[in-house]
Amino acid sequence: MHLNLNISGYEGPLDLLLDLSKKQKVDIKKISILELANQYLNFVEENIENLKLTADYLVMASLLAYLKSKLLIPEEKEEVQEIQEDLTQRIVHYNAIKKLSNKIFQLQREGYDFLNISIQNEFIISNKIVPKISLQDLILKYSEIFKKKKSIKLLTEKNDFYSLEDGESWLKKIFKLKEKNWLKLFKFLPEDTKNFKMKKSAVLSLLLASLDNVNQGKILINQKDHFEEIMVKLNNG
């Protein structure tokens, strides 16, 4: 959802600050931050109903409230000098960007002031990429796969993973139980998983199998919130 709330036509807290600064009718670099803070906080107060949704206005309000409190005590003025300068700088910068964004769109534009040309075309240009591979290469590759597989199998056998079908078979218990209540999905996991890697693989295959069953309308699945227990139950069960 777009939370692009436009309060009285302002694009954001900086836009509001910029507008308020302009009302001071001095060089933007010499604005009174104290006065600005007062005006901004007043504005926020008046519009508090509208502002409920946009945190950025409130973040700025709290910064300005802090600044104001410091500025009212003369001996603490220096402390907030840096924040004041930074804020002024940001308003100046934002002002520049706003001006420039309008200037860009005042430039001549394609489709408005000029057109690019592409005329009727009798050319047929095809850009073909032809891979260098012959039938021999293909066949050799195929035989290679099986040569390799023989040696790979020995290496990978003990590191095998559970398949979707495995998940399916564990989940089958739910149909045998004929239980009408919600059950914890992970109760269906096998208990004899060798290591963490295998356990991860088992969780995955069980999850996928259950989603597949949901898809087929055989079971229902439910999780109240992130990290909560995943519950399953027979559909029409």
């Binding site: 057109l115 690019n116 040309i117 005329i119 009727q120 075309n121 009798e122 050319f123 047929i124 240009i125 095809s126 850009n127 073909k128 990429i129 032809v130 891979p131 260098k132 591979i133 012959s134 039938l135 290469d137 293909l138 066949i139 050799l140 590759k141 195929y142 035989s143 290679e144 796969i145 099986f146 040569k147 390799k148 597989k149 790979i152 199998k153 990978t156 979707l164 079908e165 399916e168 996928l208 199998a209 597949d212």
Partner: protein
């Protein structure tokens, strides 16, 4: 607007129009800027483009530019680039050609390693493979088969012309 700008104006209008322009529509647009001899302008333009790469065509009282007829002989260009196919793509292609229709999971099982989407995309782009129906197993995975360009590239009449696996075994393995 002087005569020269008027001519440029018409020239750019014809060039940038999406459809061939009628004299009436051009006359109307010119009329905002003064009184000009459109026929003279069009004659001049036709002449200007006589020996160039594009020519001004009048067809059924409409005007447009097209590439010049004198270039017709040069207009069919087929650029061919050769490129090496990655080992992954070659393996995947080999498996698809011999096991089609075959799912990605099945290819991975045969290869003993994952098949990345990019590999399939490469082969798809070449029109060497195409998706076929789905396998009626959990997840209903799509299956892959070889496509027309594959046969064309390898000079095969049909996929049956590929050497058989048992033939291969006696020769290569």
């Amino acid at each position: 607007m002087d005569n020269n700008i008027a001519k440029n104006f018409i020239e750019s209008l014809i060039f940038s129009a999406e459809e061939p322009l009628t004299k009436e529509s051009m006359k109307k647009m010119l009329s905002y800027y003064g009184d000009f001899d459109l026929d003279l302008i069009l004659r001049e333009l036709k002449n200007d483009y006589k020996n160039r790469g594009v020519e001004l065509i009048e067809l059924e009282k409409r005007f447009y530019f097209k590439t010049a007829d004198t270039l017709n002989d040069y207009m069919r260009i087929e650029t061919k680039k050769t490129r090496n196919l990655s080992p992954a793509a070659m393996e995947t292609l080999a498996i698809i050609s011999y096991h089609q229709p075959v799912t990605r999971a099945e290819i991975e099982k045969i290869r003993g390693k994952p098949v990345f989407r990019g590999t399939l995309d490469t082969l798809l782009e070449l029109k060497w493979i195409k998706p076929s129906g789905r396998r009626e197993t959990p997840g209903r995975p799509v299956t892959w088969v070889t496509d027309f360009e594959f046969l064309k590239h390898f000079g095969l009449k049909s996929i049956k012309d590929l050497p058989k696996v048992d033939e291969l075994e006696s020769v290569i393995l």
